[in-house]
Amino acid sequence: MNIVKPNSYRSGPDERGHFGIFGGRFVAETLMPLILDLEKAYTAAKADPAFQAEMDGYLKNYVGRPSPLYFAERLTEHLGGAKIYLKREELNHTGSHKVNNVLGQIMLARRMGKKRIIAETGAGQHGVATATLCARFGLECIVYMGAVDVERQQQNVIRMEMLGATVMPVQSGTRTLKDAMNEALRDWVTNVHNTFYCIGTVAGPHPYPTLVRDFQSIIGNETKAQMQEIEGRLPDSLVACIGGGSNAMGLFHPFLDDSTVEIFGVEAAGHGLTQLHAASIAGGRPGVLHGNRTYLLMDADGQITDAHSISAGLDYPGIGPEHSWLHEIGRVNYLSATDDEALAAFQLLSKLEGIIPALEPAHAIAKVLELAPKRPRDHLMVINLSGRGDKDVPQVGDILRGKSQ
């Protein structure tokens, strides 16, 4: 493929929602008018200073932003290379970066007069964030979650129910995140008139990848300002884990045109790339699913194959379309970490820094263990610590005690 480097990496998508060949609007006709409405409402909201002002208020006083940019001194000493900073998204209300996007979408839903909110969730973090904001604004909330994930993320299921949401375990297909998304789309197509679909990642039909990216870009914008304040310059590298890729896109996007900044996305390599995994870029190819064209895991006939990751939040056979484009154009370097590597990183960060990370960002930390020692001591590396590990404590405890897996 002949790839022409763009003048800016930040100008996408085009008016039809394409990032290069990726993205688009591959949805049933029933949903098409809604997606066009959403695009219109979002364009209007972006131009309305009152919308941003109201969001800013909630981001500060409800979510608890800005999240700190923390110098991980002992991890840095341990690795003996790059100076490592953690962007502390796990300190947000609800425990992950997911709330940044949900707040934006719920504010949009309110502007559009929608009273019923549906969402899909994998690890449950997006579901918890959605249930939380629906409670705050008095909206009905239905969360679709694969039955396998309901089992391995019990604590988040209980949290969502306490917040007043209805959790619908999904029994179809592989009973994980992709099936939860199928089921949410089926709900949406049925209840088009009163329902807003709050998508949790930078995927789905246009304009979702764009609006989720925009709402998450607060991560990168804050990081840029904080690093300027602490070190007086830009970071040299960024590292984030990727399932659909919203925490990564939120950190990366504001830096895409800063050519000195190296950027690394880390997919979930599960049991290894030759076995069951969830690394769409490393082990997949372009296809069409869930409203967009992007890298997907599939067989020779175009049937979607099972993903696997120790982390329910990364257990998805696709990736956001803008990531697929950034991969093909060579701006972001996509790596992958296995279940075992993530588990080791999970334990290391807990013991060295007193911070128990979620299994998702543990994948990013796992690659930092390889990247940081090879870089000089004045190299500034930022890891997006996208979620806290409380939800994973029972699962990891069982694994470490040899009870499962």
Binding site: E29, T30, M32, G173, V189, T190, V288, R293, Q303
Partner: protein, 278 residues
């Protein structure tokens, strides 16, 4: 370009009767039984045959058709074998129109140009691709028209007058009106609402309008067909097929007959619509 679909609807118009359109999943419950079922449909009264292309993630389908797709995939069905199925049917029947219905990814992976050539030569007449709205016409719709296949679009209750022209622009063969917002196998449509919607679509197009989703019985088929150029039944046929299977989901001696019998009963219902309309 005149396809078997155009010819069939012209004949039906002359006879002043609505079309009965059946849907079944290719390869359900296995490739050879599936071929026997499809061969039996015209005799039982199907005027147009829709064949589902199995896909792992059918996001507009209800549980029955999802399960049918998984049964077919488990039996080793692929897009290539779906085309073989059509080829097998065409050995005996060169008149009944065949429409392939499904999702874009398997076609995209097969290769659009190669697929269109192979589908045309196998005897396919039209395509219904659920996740390709007019906004994505360059992907498959325009190449399909060039290859001599009808691209049949779904119009829905959310397709308003402003949007209808865009939906109809590159549509040919017939228009498939989805009578309810929802997935396949959902609740039955209200025949007054359907009548109004069909009339609205007909103000924008001369194409025949067939109505589907929510039609399960000869009575509903009659009621709906009396307001349209055709009625589509899928889930009810798939359910009849499924209830004829053994405990392991394999075909039995009753499978082909179960589908053919329901097809005949539904076809009677649709034909009854002609008298009702007079």
């Amino acid at each position: 370009m005149t396809t078997r679909i155009d010819t069939r609807f012209a004949e039906l118009a002359k006879q002043d009767r609505p079309a009965f359109v059946t849907f079944l999943m290719a390869g359900d419950p296995d490739p050879s039984t599936s071929l026997e079922i499809i061969k039996a449909l015209p005799k039982a009264g199907a005027d147009v045959i829709e064949i589902g292309m199995p896909f792992t993630d059918p996001m507009a389908d209800g549980p029955s058709i999802q399960a049918a797709g998984l049964r077919a995939l488990k039996a080793g069905m692929t897009l290539k074998k779906t085309l073989d199925l059509v080829r097998g049917f065409r050995k005996e029947d060169n008149a009944t129109p065949i429409v392939l219905m499904g999702y874009y990814n398997p076609i995209y992976i097969y290769g659009v140009d190669k697929f269109l050539v192979d589908a045309k030569s196998a005897g396919v007449d039209g395509l219904i691709i659920v996740d390709l709205p007019p906004e994505e016409d360059e992907e498959l719709c325009l190449p399909a028209i060039k290859a001599g296949l009808n691209f049949i679009r779904l119009a829905t209750p959310t397709t308003d007058d402003k949007r209808l022209p865009a939906v109809l622009a590159n549509t040919s063969g017939f228009v498939y009106y989805v009578s309810v917002t929802g997935i396949t196998g959902a609740a039955a449509a209200d025949s007054d609402a359907v009548s109004e919607a069909v009339a609205r679509i007909k103000r924008h197009t001369k194409l025949p309008v067939c109505v589907g989703f929510g039609i399960r019985t000869p009575e509903t088929a009659r009621a709906i067909a009396s307001h349209a150029d055709g009625a589509v039944v899928g889930t009810a046929l798939v359910d009849a097929l499924k209830s004829s299977l053994d405990a392991e989901g394999r075909a039995t001696g009753k499978t082909v007959k179960a589908v053919a019998d329901l097809t005949a009963a539904l076809a009677q219902g649709v034909r009854g619509a002609q008298q009702a309309a007079e």
